[in-house]
C-alpha cells in the first residue's frame, strides 16, 4: 500500500491520493499517468500487468488498484 502511494505521489506530488474516491473522474490520473504508474509498478514489484487490465476501472482508486495488484503479487 505504502509503495503504491509513494509511486502515485511521485506522479502527482500535489495530490493526496488517500482522500480520493475516483482518480479518473476527478481528473487526477490521465492515460499517460496510468502508463507511468504501470511501468513503475512493474519495475518495483517485478510483475508484468496484462494490457487488458490497464483499464480505468482498475485505476479508479487505491482499493481497485490494490485488488488488481493482488492478482499479480502478494502485497
Amino acid at each position: 500500500m505504502n509503495e503504491v502511494i509513494s509511486i502515485l505521489t511521485v506522479i502527482r506530488p500535489e495530490v493526496d491520493f488517500t482522500r480520493c474516491d475516483d482518480f479518473i473522474k476527478e481528473g487526477l490520473l490521465d492515460s499517460l499517468d496510468i502508463v507511468t504508474l504501470v511501468a513503475e509498478l512493474e519495475d518495483r514489484l517485478g510483475i508484468c500487468i496484462d494490457g487488458q487490465d490497464i483499464s480505468p476501472e482498475n485505476f479508479k482508486n487505491l482499493e481497485t488498484l490494490l485488488a488488481l495488484l493482488r492478482r499479480y503479487t502478494v502485497l
Binding site: I11, I24, E26, G27, L28, L29, D30, S31, L32, I34, V35, T36, A39, C48, D50, G51, Q52, I54, S55, P56
Partner: protein
Amino acid sequence: MNFKFEGKKIEGIVSVVPQHCVKFEDEIANYGFSEDKCRSLQKLMGFGERRIVADKECGSDLVLHGLEHLIRTGKLDKKEIRALVFVSQTPDHFMPPTSCILHGKLGLGRDVLCFDINQGCTGYIYGLIQSCMILNAVRDGKVVLLNADTLSRRACRFDRNIYPIIGDAGAITVIGNSPQGRDIMAAMETDGSRSHWLVIPAGGFRMPSDQQSRQIKVLPDGNRRSDDDFFMNGSGIFTFTQTDVPASLRKFFADGDIQVEGIDYFMFHQPNRFLLEKLARKLNLDFGKVPANIVEKYGNPSSASIPLTICHNVREKILHEKLRICMAGFGVGLSWGSLLTDVGPLSFCELLER
C-alpha cells in the same frame, strides 16, 4: 468480414516523410508535466523525433512527391495506372476528392478511376482491400494506393495525449494482378458505437468551426485542446487495443489456419512503443518480429504507418526476399483489421523526404 484475394502482387512501396523535424525534448514545456515525468514517458512511449509538415503542406503533396519520383525514375508507368485510391482523414478540401486533384496534377487519362476513403489507422488495410477488389474487376494494369495524413495540423500542441505522438507521412503502394501473385487474406471489424473515442469534433457540417470551437480549453486533468482539435479517449483506446485487437488477430489466425511461427514480420500500426509491446506480449509474439520504432523516429502517421514501418525496417531485405507479413491496423471508427500476405521481392521500396 473476411476477405481472400488470389494472384495479387504488391510491386513496390514508397514512403514519404516531411523534412521538418521536431524533437520531444524541445516541446516538454508545452505539456504541463515535470521534466522527470516527461523523460520517463519519453522512454516508455518512444517519444523522440517526429516529422510533421510545415505551414500548409498537405498529405497529397507528400504522395505527389513520391509519385513524381516513381514516374521520373521509370518505376511507375502512368499508362498502366487504372485507379488511384487515396486514403486520408486530411484531404485538401471537402470537395473535390483529393484523388481527382492528384489525377489532374499527374495528367492521367480519363479512364482512370479515382476515389477517396476517409480512414485513419486502419486505412492501409482498407486501402489494400479496396485495391484488390478493383483488381478483381480490372484484370490488367495497376492500382496505386495512396495513404497520407497530416494530422499534426489538427492536433493541439498542448495536448499531451496527442501531440507528442503525431507524425505526418504519405505512402504509395503499387499493386497489380500477376500469375506470380500471392494470396491476400484479410479480416475487418467495425464498432461505430465508439466512434466518438477518436474524433475532431468541430470543422465539419455537424459542428462548424467558429470562434468558440477554436478556443483552447483547460480540461479537468490539466490537458488542453479546442473542439477544432483531434481528441482521443486515451484510456478507452488503450483498452480497445488490448482486448478487441488481439481477440480479432487470434480469430484471424484460427479462421485462416495460419501458422504464426511462419510469419516473418508483424507490421502493425504504430501508436506508441508501450502499447505495441503489451500487444506483442499478449499475442506471445517474438518482439524481434514486431517493429515498434516508428513513433520515436517519425511519430504516428495514421494510415501511412504500416508502409512506413516496412520501408524503415526492411527496405533492403524486401528487395531481395519474399517476406511473410501480417499487418494490423486499428483506430478511428472504431475499426480494426488484419491482413496476411507474402510480400517481395519488390521492384522498389524507398523512403523519401520532401
